[in-house]
């Protein structure tokens, strides 16, 4: 029986919260963010990290699982017109708003009346895509303490946006998500497989394999999942189609996975 096909599904890149993994960097970032949201002292919080380090997962996790904080809205992408953005936020207060019913200034004052003292937080993911106007609007809303904003963005662009005049002189908080250590990668793969009754597959991963995965993923959570998913798919095909040479988890199959995912460029 070939279990690899089922096991690989555990490593799809999605926001399935059952794939939660308590890495040190994630736990630390989570604690910092929850504290910042509870105290509500900092109007702007930046969650920074390289792509695939778990920023979206963190926002999603807090949005869905943490009940002690108040998230007004989670924007997965900042593709919004400024007015629509304000109207969406105002509609959260239960008001039925027609598009273009109010001017921007009216919308802001209504939002202040509706949310001013309630200490709600708005999550905006992929915030590196925000336009200058959107950034300015967020600055106005946070300055007036209508909402606290949590902006998740790529580390490089985030540092650039933070250095802009909009935020330079303002109180902001920076939460950085780093990569996983090799021990954490090993623990993640093992716990994910064991908790889904794939103990025989979990036992195939030796420290040298974990080291290989760490070397190529550089601790990136998404890339780690991609390598593991691909190697399990290779093992699945090799076992199914009787390619004996490639039917074991070893450096060969891991290298093939790295080639297939584009981490090794074969010219």
């Amino acid at each position: 029986m070939n279990y690899f096909a089922d096991a690989k599904k555990l490593f799809y890149d999605d926001f399935d919260l059952s794939g939660y993994f308590d890495s040190l960097t994630f736990e630390y970032a989570k604690k910092q963010l929850i504290d910042a949201m509870k105290t509500h002292e900092v109007p702007l919080v930046f969650v920074l990290g390289n792509p695939g380090t778990g920023k979206s997962f963190l926002l999603n996790y807090i949005h869905q699982k943490v009940t002690s904080v108040k998230v007004a809205k989670y924007f997965t992408h900042p593709y919004f017109d400024e007015k629509e953005f304000l109207e969406t936020l105002l509609s959260l207060a239960g008001k039925n708003i027609e598009h273009n019913e109010y001017s921007t200034e009216q919308l802001i004052s209504r939002l202040k009346r509706a949310f001013g003292d309630l200490e709600y937080t708005v999550f905006i993911d992929e915030a590196q895509l925000l336009t200058e106007d959107q950034v300015e609007l967020i600055r106005i809303l946070s300055d007036q303490k209508i909402f606290q904003f949590v902006l998740a963005m790529h580390k490089k662009e985030g540092n650039y946006i933070l250095s802009k005049d909009h935020f330079k002189s303002r109180t902001t908080k920076k939460i950085i998500l780093e990569g996983l250590t090799d021990k954490e990668i090993g623990r993640y793969i093992e716990s994910r497989l064991l908790s889904n009754n794939f103990s025989d597959i979990a036992s195939l991963f030796k420290p040298s394999h974990i080291k290989f995965i760490k070397e190529y993923s550089r601790g990136n959570f998404r890339t780690t999942k991609k390598i593991v998913k691909t190697v399990l798919e290779i093992l699945n095909i090799a076992n199914r189609e009787n390619y004996k040479k490639y039917s074991k988890l070893n450096k060969t199959t891991l290298t093939m996975a790295a080639i297939d995912t584009g981490l090794i460029d074969v010219k």
């Binding site: 691909t230 798919e233 090799a238 390619y243 290298t255 093939m256 080639i259 297939d260 074969v266």
Partner: protein, 214 residues
């Protein structure tokens, strides 16, 4: 789903393996060359221990007439050379002397070792290349072409002769080196054609003689 189909992935893996193996062999080869070069240098130095006193004029020396060597008038004794730069290799058969004796004409090695000569040539080539990079002059380009011709690196000689002729096409030397190198590369027709073209517009006894000889 894999990004590549499985058999293609196997082929890619095999190609990658070959590339890695070649890289490894190349590194091993480079290492062996380094070891061999090191060994050669060691042999050279142990054959000619006196060569290790590289620059006796740099020392703050006091010339003391040696009572033992009073008969040989050319002999000078150098006392206590400064610590920096100096390395005196241990002679193979004799014990380390208390004083270092400057070499006389009789004791000096009559000819330079080929290996050291090569190093000097390479160094001067490097200087010429740097010089050419700065000035882009005909004179330097032709020197480099000449160097490669003497070294029998004909393809490089051709390249630099062309480079030199670009700077000054009326000079015969670049065409002559070009022709000689082409001939050495087994292309006498090209060499003849080049000289003929040159002689059509210029006159050079040397170029004419070379053309006749080809």
């Amino acid at each position: 789903m894999l990004n590549n189909n499985f058999s293609k992935l196997i082929k890619l893996y095999e190609k990658y393996q070959r590339q890695q193996r070649n890289k490894m062999l190349l590194r091993l080869f480079a290492l062996l060359i380094l070891i061999a070069a090191g060994y050669l240098i060691y042999l050279q130095l142990s054959k000619n221990p006196s060569q290790t006193i590289s620059d006796t004029t740099a020392y703050n020396t006091t010339v003391i007439p040696s009572p033992k060597n009073q008969k040989t008038t050319n002999t000078t004794v150098i006392s206590t050379p400064p610590v920096k730069k100096t390395s005196v290799s241990v002679p193979q058969e004799k014990e380390m002397p208390d004083q270092i004796t400057k070499r006389t004409q009789e004791t000096a090695t009559p000819k330079e070792e080929p290996f050291q000569l090569q190093v000097t040539q390479r160094e001067s080539l490097y200087r010429m290349l740097v010089d050419y990079k700065d000035k882009k002059s005909y004179k330097t380009a032709i020197k480099i072409a000449q160097f490669y011709l003497l070294q029998k690196e004909y393809k490089k000689a051709v390249k630099w002769a062309v480079e030199a002729s670009k700077k000054d096409p009326s000079q015969a030397q670049s065409w002559i080196i070009y022709a000689k190198a082409k001939q050495a590369l087994g292309k006498p027709d090209v060499a003849k054609r080049a000289l003929a073209i040159y002689l059509k517009h210029n006159s050079s006894k040397e170029a004419q003689e070379l053309l006749n000889a080809l």
